[in-house]
């Protein structure tokens, strides 16, 4: 610490964000900033021209070496498919047309190489930024990244990939590539000003088991390199310059969690069963094959939701049948004999149509989920064939998102039958009796669930969308996000309806929304009769512990009482008191 820093007032400041990856850490902050080069235009003497060009050559060489390291590391950590996000950058470094014209301009205009490189690449970047399709606009970021990489190497500044000690990375936002390359060091935690729980870097933090909090507004302006910072990845809280008392408190919390988790680990091989014998399924929501090991360690009964659209993240093309089959088979084989529910692509139309789609003024009410897939049956058939082929060992189910009427369900089921026929014609094996289910996330589907239930093998409640649609609240909109209430009496009563009506048709009811993984909701959902909880992997042990602590008989009474309450506050207070009575939770 330099003498000046001693004098600076070290006031404790608390920042609240979103818990993105569990864990607790205290350590020095490291401000990670993307290198933004400053470019000055200079004139070069005639004899200075060739040295400028040589400087460019060696900067390109260094950039190539950096990128190939990143590419290799990505392949190792994320797999071949995801690593492809770096392919475009590698190719640009070898674009001889581009660099011939840069050489030509340096000779003709006698300007410094930084200026010409920036100016020439900027022309392309500008065109891409203005493109009407999202894909091209995203590639503009690649072009910008590779340009900055060359410029940084021209200025002979090193790529920051080696860090002193074990810091907490503080950043405005963190690209997956940065999170990845930094993780070669010992990183205590990642905290960022923007980003969501489902962002690539949050996903990566969880896969790497590094605590992370995102969405911490105004954090950067208040932190300096080396400042002590405490990160609570369970509660989504970051404390800057924590007092000794705060550090004590947060480290005690870490100890409590550690003990708690060790105790929970003892639950791994025990079933999710109440003391009076009600057995429910406790399964995991998954996006990447990399998470499978973690899920097995946590003792899940299977996978209640595999978001197949994660195959499209970072990738450029729709994976074909073979590529999809290979991926689904990994899930089927790794989890066998446990079940895996594969949800068909839940995407917006822009993913497949690019700029040909007219921009939707309200995409949440627009062309998405099963609507897209039914309009593009060739895509849907390709995916269903891949899923069917992976179902050979009979542990795969298929689930359709965004169903809002029975016609969509019938059409989708018919396409599954068509896909089976195509596979029979090719002599390929599949599970003839593959279980078919739907997401209940559109209120209309919840209202007609008794009809839908007669034509499916299971339903799974997607609470995130269901609550948004039911309460007419966009949870991403800061102005109204506090109106997004999981425990709104309308939500609870609607859930009861869905569960009761489905069970009358003798089909199991699952829930794969965030609510299923909220410990405060567990007893209520259990009491309402939910058959399967599909939760984020990190929440598995805690939810299991709650289920194993409460008699089904009592949970039913608690649910009944909860249904009589008329405000969210009352409901939450009641459920919190119930939890306390059972001495559940670590707080």
């Amino acid at each position: 610490m330099s003498p000046g820093e001693h004098e600076r007032k070290q006031e404790e400041a608390v920042f609240r964000g979103i818990a993105a990856s569990p864990g607790i850490a205290v350590g020095p902050a490291y401000l990670f900033q993307k290198h933004v080069p400053v470019i000055n235009q200079k004139t070069v003497e005639p004899e200075g021209v060739e040295p400028e060009i040589l400087r460019l050559r060696s900067a390109l060489d260094r950039s190539r070496r950096e990128l190939s390291k990143i590419y290799d590391f990505a392949k190792q950590k994320l797999g071949e498919h995801q690593a492809k996000i770096f392919e475009a950058q590698v190719m640009i470094l070898d674009d001889s047309v581009l660099f011939d014209s840069i050489d030509g301009r340096i000779r003709a205009e006698r300007k410094n190489v930084e200026f010409i490189v920036h100016d020439e690449i900027e022309k392309y970047r500008k065109v891409m930024v203005d493109a009407s399709d999202e894909y091209t606009r995203e590639r503009a970021l690649d072009v910008e990244d590779v340009r900055n990489r060359i410029l940084r190497n021209l200025q002979e500044e090193k790529l920051i990939s080696k860090l002193e000690g074990a810091p907490v990375i503080v950043s405005q936002s963190l690209a997956a590539a940065d999170a990845l390359i930094l993780s070669r060091n010992t990183i205590l935690a990642y905290v960022t000003e923007i980003g969501g729980v489902t962002s690539h870097s949050a996903l990566l933090a969880r896969a790497l088991k590094i605590p992370s909090v995102v969405g911490l507004r105004h954090l950067m302006a208040n932190v300096r390199n080396g400042d002590r910072i405490a990160v609570d990845g369970y509660g989504g809280i970051v404390v800057l310059n924590p007092s000794p008392e705060t550090v004590d408190e947060i480290l005690r919390k870490r100890e409590r969690y550690k003990e708690f988790e060790e105790k929970l680990a003892g639950l791994r091989d025990l079933p999710a069963e109440t003391p009076d014998g009600r057995r429910v399924e406790l399964t995991a929501n998954v996006e990447l094959a990399e998470e499978l090991e973690f899920i097995k360690i946590q003792g899940a009964d299977g996978i209640g939701l595999y978001r197949s659209e994660s195959l499209l993240l970072g990738g450029e093309v729709f994976p074909n049948e073979e590529e999809q089959y290979a991926e689904y088979k990994v899930f089927a084989d790794t989890m066998y004999p446990k079940r895996v529910v594969i949800r068909t692509f839940d995407i917006g139309g822009d993913k497949i149509m690019g700029s040909q789609t007219t921009r939707e003024s309200n995409p949440f009410l627009g062309w998405r989920g099963i609507r897209v897939m039914l309009d593009r049956p060739e895509l849907f058939l390709e995916q269903v064939r891949a899923i069917l082929r992976a179902s050979e060992r009979k542990n795969i189910s298929v689930m359709f998102p965004m169903i809002s009427n029975i016609k969509e369900l019938r059409k989708a089921r018919q396409l599954v039958e068509d896909a089976k026929g195509q596979l029979r014609a090719r002599g390929l094996a599949y599970d003839e009796k593959i279980r078919i289910g739907i997401m209940i996330e559109v209120p209309a589907a919840a209202v007609i669930v008794e009809d839908l239930a007669k034509e499916v093998d299971f339903v799974s409640i997607g609470t995130n969308d269901l609550i948004q649609y039911l309460l007419a609240v966009d949870r991403g909109n800061d102005v109204v996000s506090d109106l997004y209430q999981e425990f709104h009496p309308a939500v609870v009563r609607f859930l009861r309806r869905i569960i009761d009506r489905s069970k009358e048709c003798d089909i199991p009811v699952a829930m794969c929304g965030e609510m299923a993984g909220d410990p405060l909701a567990t007893i209520l959902l259990l009491g309402l009769g939910l058959d399967e909880f599909s939760v984020v992997p990190a929440a598995l042990p805690e939810i299991k512990k709650i289920i194993r602590s409460v008699k089904y008989r009592d949970a039913k009474k608690i649910a009944k009482k909860a249904l009589s309450l008329v405000t969210e506050d009352e409901l939450k207070k009641y459920l919190t008191d119930v939890m306390k009575g059972y001495e559940l939770g670590v707080e």
Partner: protein, 89 residues
Amino acid sequence: MIDREVTIKNRAGLHTRPAATLVKLASKFKSDFIISKDGFEINGKSIIGVMTLAAEQGSTLLLRFNGPDELEAAAAIQELFDKAFDEPL
């Protein structure tokens, strides 16, 4: 000089992978190779240029070949577009 008009047939459009295939193939020929789309021209031997085209499925490109092996170049590249870069339609 040879002009050819082609249509992007594959579902994903002229994204990075087919763009790379196209650029590599074009670079094997001596002839100049210019692609234009909606009046916007780029050098078909440049990956960064092809990336700016934003050519999705169904869009039409004008290809212009000029040089000693323009016949061969035009035939080879036309074939690449005809078979949709071996990608899903």
